[in-house]
Amino acid sequence: MHSNIFDRYLHTDSSIHRLAPQVKVVIAILFIFSNALLPDGDWLSFGISWAVIFLLNLLARLNWAYTLKRSIIALPFALAAITALFSLPGKTLAIWHLGSLELILTDAGLIRFLSIIVRSWLSVQIAILLVATTKFPDLIHALEHLRLPKMLVTVIAFLYRYMSVLTDEVIRLMRARQARSAVLPDKRGGGSLLWRARTAGNMVGQLFLRSYERSDRIYHAMLSRGYNGHLRTLNQHEMQVNDWLIIALAFLIIASLQLFAHTTG
């Protein structure tokens, strides 16, 4: 499986790509934090945030349509927020009856719902920008700089290294299952629900054993190459003066956006 869907932009070179990964992580989180703090219905501030993201996309030479397409991933969750439409008191726009439930659509509820969707959409784009301009191993290394426990960082590094290997394993298991599951056109294939679930369970068990035994081999292979519990990297990603300046600049921009949003709103 081609595991890294962001590969095609990682080899592009731009000022954003060259930033130290921990700087990008900090700025991304600050920016997402800022989205969460913007007041409901402050469309102007949302628009400014989006313009900043768009500008960063241009700077990073990403394909805008691609970011847009990927940013749809969070949309299904909007279903969970749909009840926000009916949860706030305000001017009534419409009333629906659903069984015994009376749903009153208010203007305040509508603004709240749309704000949630916009915030989420902006935040997803920031996260996309982050991973599309940073190699994931560098991102993992950045987490170590940000004082995450070394052990957790190592576990994440292993997960990243082996997820495509085990994903391939899963795809082979599923292909094997499919190959054995011939279905007549007008008949339902497979046994009962219980039987199908058990087949899936056996596949999970099989995958577990293969992974477990693989981890044994990997550990011994690493041990014989001098593994001492710490993963090393060639690029140290030490913070330079430049990096601090960029963080300060980002903080200033975000702080002024917040100030603007809360004074005008």
């Binding site: 292993f158 990243y160 068990g205 992974s211």
Partner: protein, 313 residues
């Protein structure tokens, strides 16, 4: 096709800042303990946990058709905790949720604390706690308990997710709670079936692997209490809150939590302003920054304490 997002991965923007920060504080506290406990085990444990994280990540893709085009698949928290022990299981799930959020945008960054808590920590605690009851007993009892734990773990995740959404002012409790619990009662059955048959498979082929987690080394009998307490909470609160959401709203209203969640995203301080700065944007922003700092300092001290405790061992 493969990375079907589950309804439990909350994206950014859906939780208020205060709910996100409190969830992070709880998650970081529990994870610090998990890291401390797991570091005591041998160094071979770390590559094993890494591969197991990749295993859970990949196993979540294995699905089976249920009906009408829907399919059941695994969340894996309970299974990870049963085969690896609770602390290692939590770390493995954290890595999985972290990579799903960071790399695939399946779940947000600011809300990742809540996602880890709902899908990683609670699921592992319940799954292991209930499984531990059957220690030293018959295999069928163990499998039964594992199945129950798997179902309850999904329900616990659905319950806390609905509560967080509601406290953030994103959803109405009387709709979101029954909907989430109803859907996940079914998803939980898939989780149970896969977890039980996977464990049965491992019992048949490599029983030695499952015996490793027995005994107090990976997790003591205290987990039974933890698992039972969360299960009790889920089993009592779910029907109660579903049938009488107004009651819960009233309790939260009395605690003034709801108003805080709904009106302003940052509101640890009264009226979301600092009295000496008057009422205005500066005051609100300063209050927000102070609120975030309080959470950060709290987490810092917890982590420092744990580090100090580790040195003393």
């Amino acid at each position: 096709m493969y990375f079907s997002p589950t309804p439990l991965h909350i994206p950014d923007g859906f939780l208020s800042t205060i709910v996100s920060l409190i969830s992070w504080a709880i998650t970081i506290t529990i994870l610090s303990v998990a890291v401390k406990r797991t570091e005591k085990l041998d160094e071979k444990q770390v590559p094993l946990m890494g591969i197991m994280a990749a295993f859970i990540f990949a196993a979540q893709m294995i699905n089976f058709p249920v009906a009408g085009g829907t399919s059941g698949h695994l969340l894996g928290g309970a299974l990870a905790a049963i085969v690896l022990g609770p602390w290692a299981g939590m770390l493995v799930m954290t890595a999985v949720i972290g990579v799903q959020g960071l790399l695939l945008q399946d779940g947000g960054l600011l809300v990742m604390g809540a996602n880890i808590l709902n899908m990683g920590l609670l699921t592992a605690a319940i799954g292991f706690g209930l499984y531990k009851i059957g220690e030293g007993r018959k295999r069928t009892l163990k499998l039964g308990l594992a199945g129950l734990g798997a179902w309850l773990s999904v329900m616990a995740g659905a319950l806390t997710t609905s509560l967080q959404l509601w406290l953030s002012g994103t959803a109405r409790l009387d709709i979101v709670l029954p909907a989430m619990l109803g859907v996940h009662a079914l998803i939980g059955i898939g989780e149970t079936l896969i977890t039980v048959s996977a464990l049965a498979f491992i019992f048949r082929t490599r029983p030695d692997l499952l015996e490793q987690t027995e005994g107090p080394a990976r997790g003591g009998r205290g987990w039974i209490f933890v698992g039972a307490a969360i299960s009790f909470f889920v089993l009592i609160l779910s029907p109660l809150a579903s049938s009488n959401p107004d009651g819960l709203e009233r309790v939260a209203g009395d605690l003034e939590f709801l108003a805080q969640g709904k009106d302003a995203p940052f509101s640890i301080l009264p009226d979301y302003t600092l009295p000496f700065l008057g009422e205005g944007a500066f005051s609100t922003i300063a209050a927000g920054i102070i609120g975030a700092l309080v959470v950060a300092i709290f987490v810092y001290f917890v982590v420092q304490n744990l580090r100090a405790a580790k040195k003393n061992i």
